[in-house]
């Protein structure tokens, strides 16, 4: 290997570290082509001096106060709100059109329709074909995507500064004039159906589907995968897509968030040029009252009589996916910050309670984590791990034990301090890339957060106490109501689960639907 620096290093070794033996020149016959079994016995014991400064972790310099980036705001002539964070250190700009409303806000839309509408945006406009859109973006080296998730829709680009003027008209066109052309819809439908079929071989996807269905039921928007099921996807037609688009993707609900190498003055001109003609449909689309934020999805009631244990069979699986889940909280919950702190301690950080317990102490899993999926409505709370099949019951037992503990006992001052520091100190990294900044700006828009949300976050977290964390745990985590969802080899794991006294299992299929046939055991 030709590494000039290595020779310099070797020369230094001889000069500066005389106790080190130089590597012996190889005079022996050619060695085998694989690495030797073990290192040769070392004639010199190397020891690093145990200097006093190594005894404890350095304290660090004065804390770096987080300064939230300056967010500037303007409105286009047609009322569309624009938020900008200027960053001129790299010649890069990210632009995202944000529609404030998603699949969870449209109870009238067929399952999967909102998501499919998002995917169709880049597949043709009234003047550009899907192939032309792709070529236009690719020629600019643009990163690009369009989607609809639970609470919002997005169409985004990231380009080098010199390409912004060429990319913006394409972005505006896909947002304003999608054609939902039939042949493209057929292509997308076929690929969506195949993707849904593929998910049947992913235990994680099966677990998520069963969780949504078990917690919310099929009647609720959150009771499905975002993409819907095969039967839903087969039925979605152009009318469904156009209706979702007309309601959500209107200048009435849209904002444009931008970060990067562009000034506010220049941006205003550029955006007015491409979005200026965007006007709300007249008359307003029906059903006009179903506008995001006006009718938030109903908070689902935990069905206390529902079976606690849900099993999805995956014959032959050497690992089980275990999930402890219940209906969690909405993003607008007044104790949002306490919930964030609670989750960091419980299962959010690597050094969280459940990861240390299941991974480090017991060796059940490669990793355990938890999350409150905070949406416009109360999304699911899930604590999950993929564990060795024989550890399925023990893992569930430990997860439930940790839930009880964090409700019963105050977290220690040390744990509280660590989690607070983690949340506060990680703030700067959340604004590092222009995409990260547009994500942060988008959250302000989608969840109606004040413009100083990030500037005041550290102080809000500082004020929280161990009692606040326990209150949040008691309010949102209920050991006796938590559903336990297991995806695994049923014949192997079901007998193991009996000692947990979770009752008879409800068996669901790969898509989360209740399966008819009980397990027949000899």
């Amino acid at each position: 290997m030709n590494r000039p620096v290595a020779f310099v290093a070797a020369a230094l070794l001889v000069a500066c570290a005389p106790e080190v033996l130089p590597v012996a020149p190889s005079l022996a016959p050619p060695p085998p082509a694989v690495a030797p079994q073990v290192a040769p016995a070392l004639p010199v014991v190397r020891a690093t001096p145990d200097d006093p400064f190594r005894r404890s972790a350095p304290e660090g310099g004065p804390a770096v106060a987080f300064v939230a980036p300056t967010m500037r705001e303007l409105h286009l002539r047609n009322g569309v709100r624009v938020l900008l964070v200027e960053r001129h250190d790299l010649p890069v700009v990210a632009v995202r059109v944000v529609a404030k409303g998603g699949a969870g806000d449209l109870p009238w839309a067929p399952p999967g329709a909102a998501s499919m509408m998002g995917s169709m945006l880049e597949l043709g406009t009234t003047t550009r074909t899907a192939l032309e859109i792709s070529d236009a973006y690719e020629a600019l080296g643009a990163m690009h995507a369009a989607w609809v998730d639970w609470d919002s829709g997005g169409a985004a680009i990231k380009v080098t500064t010199d390409k912004l003027d060429l990319a913006l008209p394409v972005l505006a066109d896909i947002v304003m004039h999608p054609s939902f052309q039939g042949e493209e819809l057929d292509r997308l439908r076929a690929r969506s159906l195949a993707a849904i079929q593929q998910a049947k071989s992913s235990a994680q996807a099966m677990g998520a589907a069963a969780t949504a269905a078990a917690l919310y039921g099929r009647g609720h928007a959150y009771g499905h995968a975002l993409e819907g099921q095969a039967a839903d996807v087969e039925k979605i037609d152009r009318t469904d897509l156009a209706r979702v688009h007309a309601v959500v993707w209107s200048p009435l609900h849209a904002s444009v968030v931008v970060a990067g190498d562009v000034t506010l003055e220049a941006l205003a001109k550029k955006l007015d040029a491409v979005f200026g003609a965007w006007t709300p449909p007249e008359p307003p689309p029906l059903p006009s009252r179903v506008v995001p934020r006006e009718v938030p999805p109903p908070a689902p009631v935990a069905r206390r009589d529902a079976p606690r244990l849900v099993v999805v069979d995956k014959p032959g699986a050497s690992q089980s996916v275990v999930r402890c889940a219940e209906v969690g909280v909405a993003r607008a919950a007044p104790d949002h910050d306490a919930v964030a702190l609670l989750n960091a301690i419980f299962g959010g950080m690597f050094s969280s309670r459940i990861n240390l317990n299941l991974r480090e102490v017991h060796g059940f899993t490669y990793g355990a984590h938890s999350r409150f999926d905070e949406r416009h409505g109360a999304g699911p709370f899930v604590a999950t791990a993929t564990v060795k099949a024989e550890s399925t019951a023990a893992s569930i037992g430990e997860l439930l034990k940790e839930v009880r503990t964090i409700r019963d006992d105050l977290v220690s001052p040390e744990e509280l301090r660590r989690a607070k520091e983690s949340l506060k100190q990680a703030l700067p990294a959340r604004f590092e890339s222009v995409d990260a900044v547009t994500q942060a700006l988008s959250d302000l828009v989608v969840y109606d957060l004040p413009i100083d949300e990030y500037a005041t976050r550290a102080a809000r977290i500082d004020r929280l106490t161990a009692e606040d964390v326990r209150k949040a745990a008691r309010r949102h985590l209920h050991p006796r109501a938590l559903r336990v969802i297991v995806v695994g080899d049923r014949s192997r794991v079901e007998p193991l689960l009996e000692p947990l006294h979770l009752g008879a299992p409800e068996v669901r299929d790969a898509y989360g639907d209740v399966a008819a046939a009980p397990l027949v055991r000899p």
């Binding site: 620096v5 590597v23 082509a33 770096v64 790299l90 070529d135 500064t161 195949a194 991974r359 060796g363």
Partner: protein, 501 residues
């Protein structure tokens, strides 16, 4: 190390051998570069280099955009350096590195970094190197260096049987989750085993085998550490909102006293002959998945060598965007594929070019393979259009600029350039590789390195009775037809293989 120093450490305040201070600014964009990048202003990645007395390479990059600093430490050892019978050991060892050292108690390594606001805290093991990294607020650089240096200097004072076997369980769980339990999860291992001969350092994949992992002992940990985890076999990158001289002083404080040691002579296995396949090997793989899939793989030149960049561009021409050759043919027009993806997997001792296509329900892997071969033939004979080349270049060049947005990625990129291109400031030359590539060069690389008759093919067929990750059911080999390119001059009775199928 030939470039002029753009920025020098002003005061040599340390008893440190400053052997080189290589600052590398991107040269002004040249005319042809402007044409292809459309005049984006040049980006720079200025790196200063120093060596400590014990041989530790220290690469410093000041990046004052965000008040954070990334520490990225590469040990120049990977799974390619594993002894026989110890496959997976480099990666298992990486896990052990997080368990504590003399002054860092069990279970506190990641915890202390998280508490300090650390992000991107992890390590990873590839065939070629093992890296450890964390990004911390700028005032906690000392914490990151204290932690990293303690495990470089004092790991063996802490390790014991219980934590070692717990980490072995974690790694086996990782293998179960990401390989054995993942759809198509073991196919790449099957490909690699066929592409590289037993004696090649890339014959096995980094995750290792359960048998070898079980056989690993604490003595192996000690021997591996003493052999490879030496300051003079490592490169420390500090990148971020710091003063380079101050960062170097801290590096000297924490790493300077760690003694160097003899790095094994690995010329025996670090320069294997280029892999030449003698024919087309087809593997029949059964997997408990829903959709058939085909993998086509070719051995290609090492990272940054001639042809490697062209193959990146060829991958874009084949599968980047909806009008790319394979996407348009298989997914868009014929609708026989659910997805298709191609990439040049660049590595130190030799890369591999891989095409992966997944069938739509009702279509077979063989259909995909036929269509792919047809398109590869057209690429070889008909070349690449200027528009295709322009799109591929735009994607590659913009991608490099986007990579610079994250401080942690800058730090890792500097280490990557240092180990594989032998120049930590390689960025402008990396951009140049793409900016100056020609349509003929790309087509030529495809012709030369992606021959129909010399490759490994895996045909994955869904089978409910097979494990989801895939299992080898059989294989066959068709010898390459000899052409004038292979044998010159052609012997009168060249053994031409019959049109075997």
């Amino acid at each position: 190390m030939s470039s002029a120093c753009a920025l020098r450490l002003r005061h040599a305040l340390l008893p440190v051998a400053l052997t080189c201070t290589a600052g590398l600014l991107a040269p002004p964009a040249r005319a042809d570069e402007v044409a292809t990048t459309g005049g984006v202003r040049p980006v720079t990645l200025t790196v200063q280099m120093a060596h400590l007395g014990n041989g530790l390479e220290v690469l410093l990059h000041e990046d004052h955009r965000t008040p954070i600093v990334s520490v990225n430490l590469w040990y120049h050892v990977g799974s390619k350096d594993e002894p026989a019978g110890k496959n997976g050991f480099a990666h298992l060892f990486e896990h052990v590195m997080f368990q504590g050292s003399r002054h860092v108690a069990e279970g506190t390594y990641v915890r202390d970094l998280e508490q300090a606001g650390g992000t991107s805290i992890n390590g990873s093991t590839s065939t070629d190197r093992t890296n450890y990294f964390e990004t911390v607020p700028r005032n906690r650089l000392d914490l990151a260096l204290w932690l990293e240096s303690d495990r470089m200097g004092f790991l063996l004072d802490h390790i014991e049987e219980a934590t070692f076997s717990a980490q072995r369980d974690v790694v086996k769980n990782e293998r179960r989750q990401n390989y054995e339990g993942a759809p198509y999860g073991m196919v790449e291992q099957l490909l690699v085993e066929q592409m590289y001969p037993d004696s090649h350092p890339y014959h096995r994949v980094s995750i290792g085998s359960p048998q070898d992992l079980d056989a690993a002992t604490l003595d192996d940990v000690r021997a591996f550490f003493r052999t490879w985890y030496l300051p003079n076999n490592a490169t420390l990158v500090i990148a971020g909102d710091v003063d380079a001289a101050a960062a170097l002083a801290l590096a000297e404080r924490y790493f300077g006293p760690i003694p160097a040691g003899p790095v094994p002579d690995r010329r025996a296995w670090d320069d294997p002959p280029a892999v030449t396949l003698t024919g087309e090997k087809t593997l029949d793989v059964a997997a408990g998945v829903e959709l058939p899939r085909v993998y086509l793989a070719w051995p290609t030149p090492p990272s940054f060598r001639s042809g490697d960049g062209e193959l990146d561009l060829a991958a874009s021409v084949l599968t980047g965007g909806k009008t790319s050759r394979l996407y348009k043919r298989l997914v868009y027009d014929a609708r026989i594929a659910q997805s298709v993806e191609a990439h040049e997997d660049s590595r130190q001792l030799g890369s591999k070019f891989v095409i992966i296509a997944t069938a739509q329900p009702g279509h077979s892997a063989d259909e995909l393979r036929e269509a792919i071969d047809d398109e590869l033939g057209r690429l070889s004979s008909g070349g690449v259009t200027p528009a295709e080349l322009g799109r591929a270049k735009a994607r590659a060049l913009a991608g490099l600029v986007f990579d610079l947005e994250h401080d942690s990625e800058r730090a890792n990129l500097i280490n990557l350039y240092n180990q594989l291109a032998h120049d930590p400031g390689f960025l402008p030359r990396d951009m140049d590789r793409y900016a100056t590539a020609t349509a003929e060069g790309v087509a030529d690389a495809a012709r030369r390195y992606l021959p129909h008759g010399r490759r490994v093919v895996a045909v994955v067929t869904p089978d409910r009775t097979a494990p989801v990750c895939g299992v080898l059911r059989g294989s066959r080999e068709v010898p390459a037809r000899l052409t004038t390119a292979d044998v010159a001059p052609p012997p009168p009775a060249a053994p031409v293989s019959p049109g075997v199928r």
